[in-house]
């Protein structure tokens, strides 16, 4: 399977892309077109849609209440991505480059907690961070605080919960990218006199960029659509796009408006990603 030279298509290429074109074409594009159609429709009082051309659903999005939610969502998603990168990179580095023969076990150990329901883990966090919970008791025992702190159901708890939820989405692609790193490059750099830090920044990190890009995308996008964590760990006091869209479809039964919101969200996120990739350099994602 060599690279095809030139910009043409070949049977091989069609074969590679066939399955995804079929699957996504049928089970993604069709629903997508449906939602686009709905976004221009008019909602019935009890759900259901009358198709037509009604652009007012999009105008409704520009209500200050909803715009605030959009901005907040993008901010939280960005913050989450940065935090996941900060926490996830060292761990992925450790497993990929220092894990030796244990790296498969180590990476699996990262994922196992995520095979238990998020609901249960969120409830566990409530117990840990509660007034009489482990965290507070430890702090008081160590003499750091005298009284219980309010740790849970705060915006900080939501942030922590988001990082907790999305860490694997950052770690896995980073691990995939770092694992192929040839240690001899590092040693060569150091032989040539670079310090450890310089080696990292100028050799290791740039070579792991595809992993960083992939991880950032895989954290940023789903974060923007999150609706469970703000409710379970934040007392439902942080309203994100995910909550809003869910609510419009289910509670307000306004399928048209919900669809319009989804389309807007999709366009925003897609735009953000394409911009990000262009900035970082699209060629980083290609083969040599």
């Amino acid at each position: 399977m060599g690279r095809s030279k030139g910009r043409g298509w070949s049977l091989g290429l069609a074969g590679l892309l066939g399955p995804v074109a079929f699957w996504l074409g049928l089970f993604f594009f069709v629903p997508l077109l449906m939602i686009l159609a709905y976004s221009f429709g008019t909602s019935g009082v009890y759900g259901g849609i009358t198709l037509g051309f009604n652009p007012t659903n999009y105008l409704k999005v520009f209500d200050p209440l909803y715009l605030e939610i959009v901005v907040r969502t993008l901010f939280i998603a960005t913050l989450n991505t940065l935090l996941c990168l900060a926490l996830g990179y060292p761990l992925a580095y450790f497993i990929a480059l220092k894990g030796g023969s244990w790296k498969h076990a180590l990476i699996l150990l990262v994922m196992i907690p995520f095979w238990t329901s998020l609901l249960l883990r969120a409830y566990a966090w409530v117990v840990i961070l509660g007034g009489n919970g482990l965290a507070n008791r430890t702090l008081q025992f160590l003499g750091i605080t005298d009284e219980p702190l309010t740790l849970i159901f705060t915006p900080q708890a939501v942030t922590m919960g988001m990082v907790y939820s999305y860490l694997p989405f950052m770690i896995l692609p980073l691990y995939a990218a770092l694992e192929k790193f040839d240690v001899r490059l590092k040693e060569a750099a150091q032989d040539l006199g670079a310090s450890r830090w310089q080696t990292f920044w100028r050799v290791t990190f740039p070579l792991s960029m595809p992993g960083v890009i992939a991880g950032s995308i895989l954290v940023f996008i789903p974060s923007a659509g999150e609706f469970v964590i703000p409710n379970l760990l934040g007392g439902s006091r942080t309203v994100m796009m995910g909550n809003l869209i869910q609510q419009q479809f289910l509670n307000a039964r306004d399928w048209a408006f919900g669809s319009a919101l989804s389309v807007m969200l999709a366009v925003l996120l897609l735009g953000a990603i394409l911009f990000y990739i262009r900035r970082v350099g699209a060629e980083k994602l290609e083969g040599v």
């Binding site: 095809s4 043409g8 298509w9 070949s10 049977l11 091989g12 069609a14 074109a21 074409g25 049928l26 594009f29 069709v30 077109l33 449906m34 159609a37 019935g44 009082v45 009890y46 759900g47 259901g48 849609i49 198709l51 209440l65 605030e68 939610i69 409830y123 409530v126 117990v127 509660g130 007034g131 009489n132 309010t150 849970i152 159901f153 409710n231 379970l232 934040g234 007392g235 439902s236 006091r237 309203v239 809003l244 609510q247 419009q248 479809f249 289910l250 509670n251 307000a252 039964r253 306004d254 399928w255």
Partner: protein
Amino acid sequence: MKRRDARISRGRFLKVMGAAGVAGSTLSVLACQPNTSPSQGGGGGGGSEEKQLNLYNWSEYVAESTIPGFEEQTGIQVTQDFFSSNEDLLAKLQAGGSGYDVIVPSDYMVSIMIKSDVLQPLDKSKIPNMKNLSPNFRGLPYDPDDEYSVAYQWGTTGILYNRAEVGKIDSWDAMWNPEFEGQIAMINDVRETLGAALYRLGYSVNSTDQEQLQEAKAALLEQKPLLRGYFASTENRPLVQNGDILLGHVFSGDAITAVIENEDLEYIIPRPRATRWIDNMAIPAGAQHPGNAHKFINYILEAKVGADLSNYTYYGTPNEASLPMLDKELTELPSFNPPDEVFDRLEVIEDTGETTREYERIFTEVKSA
């Protein structure tokens, strides 16, 4: 060494893919009917129906003996699946998803479902046990002629609080008391929480009056800084039990679980008014086994079955004949069996039609503030 690639022209490839995509999407957009039209399947004939019943229920809402008892009595196999909210249930039915014979929607959702044509009328001749129902649970506002639904379990929504710390309270004012700042939690449900504000102001929980709604919104905005947050009832209960909060907005069954275990805790149905909610059994239009569905509903209305159910869930039974068989532990609690004067203060939540979107917008505004 060069290999020859078989080339199909890019143009042709794209054209074929594109055509397939357009064809597929056009077909489905045209074909999709968001509302299921009621297909009258097998009109009530018990003879030709296979021995199967598909139940769509809330989780943890049947006693251990309920389903095995039915299966033994009738030889009909029951498959139970679970949904997590009335709205999820409605959306799924409307989008065409089904296969269920008995569903368990709540009060206001029954009337929405009737209006959306997703239910089929009941054949009351097949449900003789309906006579067991207490008059308080017949002719309810969401189904005045009992045509489509039969009450299953009911409860109230009130306040679970730590009487030892808070002292005795009796009205919604406690949830707005600045003395308990940070120690109060409400339910994350627009009808219950906006409802609480409406009750406190002396209005109806089903108000569609703009002015009243705006007042209620102001009340909620005033309350928000005092709250830990808006949660599910099953989340508020452990918070009170663990001492993280002092006052929690909860459903009666949850509260009773806590009250039985901890003497310091008490559950009240606040003044001036509070919610009485009722979950009901109904049969979706297009159900495959309507005959069996009727048998199941009739079975649930048997005195012993109703009692077993309530003894397990700690929620109220609408079945008068079941009352003598309830656990003493439950019947002794005033909150389980409210006396008439309290019962009269209870309101049933009804569908608010177009105003629903206004309610939702208000709640979003409050939560986002």
